[in-house]
Point group: C2
Chain length 244, copies 2
DNA sequence: CGTCAAATTGAAAATTATCAACGAGAGTGG
DNA sequence: CCACTCTCGTTGATAATTTTCAATTTGACG
């Protein structure tokens, strides 16, 4: 079959040797379809599986005890999901599908095997988790210190960029695939306020909206509004050990 | 000398072999004192060093372009700092000392060497970064979905717990070591509002304050108020590969 | 056509920020 | 030892942002 989605992702960073590619393919041997709306990991459930997302868009979220939800991250093909099962007996987050998806479940032992046999892949996994961490801290700063409008703009830009990584034909018009409530749960806002912020962005001529499609009319202004930083730029991986 | 702070931290999770201990000691060979208020890494600066904190309390933060600051994390002995230099040419965050500190700088090659020679340490590093990630997502959810009072309470609890890891004699009274402005920058609030929230927590009998000291009067209520989850509990590391 | 989730809008309320002032305490230089 | 300055904490009054509540409207789909 195709090979490894995660390897393709890492392959955007450095070139992967055939041996490494084979090792990574082993964690994507099995495939499992997941329907839109379905959950593959539920918060506080006892789970041990981890996943690579092969196809579709998913999200990870936490529930707070007042019933509100915080979306932690949107997930795209090549992303690893549920790595917290590396550490915790009970899942700290819920992982659910935003569209029809295909995931590849794998065991901790598979990952452990890769770390042992391929030191450079171990280093690349650290790289991957540091990029993720940077994205997370950007979102933390956005939630703590930016306006509602900026946070909504940031979600639009981020989704566009991630979707574009899967489909280069996307430029400034795309299908968002999120409800306003989901945008709210990602940005820490109510759905009502998200609606008003979208309208405001539209009224100011930054975006246009039509039946689920978002178009960037003034991308420069949108980037400025959102305080956007692309964490997939400016990498320096010259220090990586030699591949086996 | 003493050995490795980071090894001690990992040693809380599993037992470290002498060979592993030696390898980890190599990243803490050099020591550098850092005075209170000093900065060891500045956002957007070109840096390549990483650090282990050996002594004192530090913080990492980001500046937004309106001049406001978001504190991302408080750092305690045994924490690794500046791992983003593993990946980025320019630092995404500033790292500064909240008290007089001692740090151990090390190079990327040192880390790379450990990953190559000690697969189990590579796995433990992943464990460490997943624990950090969980703490980060908890804070994300707190900023997005909890009240000002809950966020302030969470900072108090977190600081107490981290300080207690260094000094077991601390129970429910401790020196916070943060200004109200710093609490605000960590929680996404203004210093003025932090002040009001502290007063409210005090008026409700959850805490007491006296010249820089915080005392937990009703810890149970404080934990409930803050929605607190201890991410150093409930770990499952049985899957780790065997040590060399 | 009926139904249901999602989007939209207005009005009122709650939360948090901003502005301004003052007080307490720590260091500093004369 | 005494001003002097600075940072930090505290408080009140007011303003801005965001939420809540309550309708409607729209669009997709059986």
């Amino acid at each position: 079959m195709s090979g490894s989605c995660f390897a393709e992702r890492l392959g955007d960073l450095v070139s992967i040797t055939p041996a490494e590619h084979d090792a990574l393919a082993r964690i994507e041997e099995r495939e499992r379809p997941v329907r839109r709306g379905a959950t593959i990991q539920r918060e506080n459930d006892r789970v041990g599986e981890m996943f690579v997302l092969r196809k579709g868009v998913m999200m990870s979220s936490m529930l707070l005890d007042d019933g509100s939800r915080q979306i932690l991250r949107f997930l795209f093909p090549g992303d690893m999901m549920g790595l917290s099962s590396l550490v915790y007996r009970e899942a700290p987050e819920t992982i659910a599908a935003l569209s029809d998806c295909v995931v590849c479940p794998f065991e901790r032992s598979a990952l452990s095997g890769i770390l042992t046999a391929h030191p450079r892949l171990a280093a690349l996994m650290m790289v991957y988790s540091q990029i993720e961490r940077a994205a997370l801290t950007d979102r933390l700063a956005a939630l703590g210190r930016t306006s509602a409008k900026a946070r909504v703009a940031a979600v639009l830009i981020d989704m566009r960029n991630r979707l574009r990584m899967m489909d280069k034909s996307i430029t400034d018009s795309f299908v968002l695939g999120l409800t306003q409530e989901e945008i709210g749960d990602a940005t820490g806002l109510t759905a009502v306020h998200v609606n008003r912020m979208l309208r405001q962005l539209e009224d100011e001529g930054l975006i246009a909206r039509a039946n689920g499609h978002i178009a960037f009319i003034n991308e420069r202004a949108l980037l400025r509004e959102a305080n956007y930083v692309d964490r997939y730029q400016g990498l320096d991986l010259s220090w990586l050990p030699a591949p086996l």
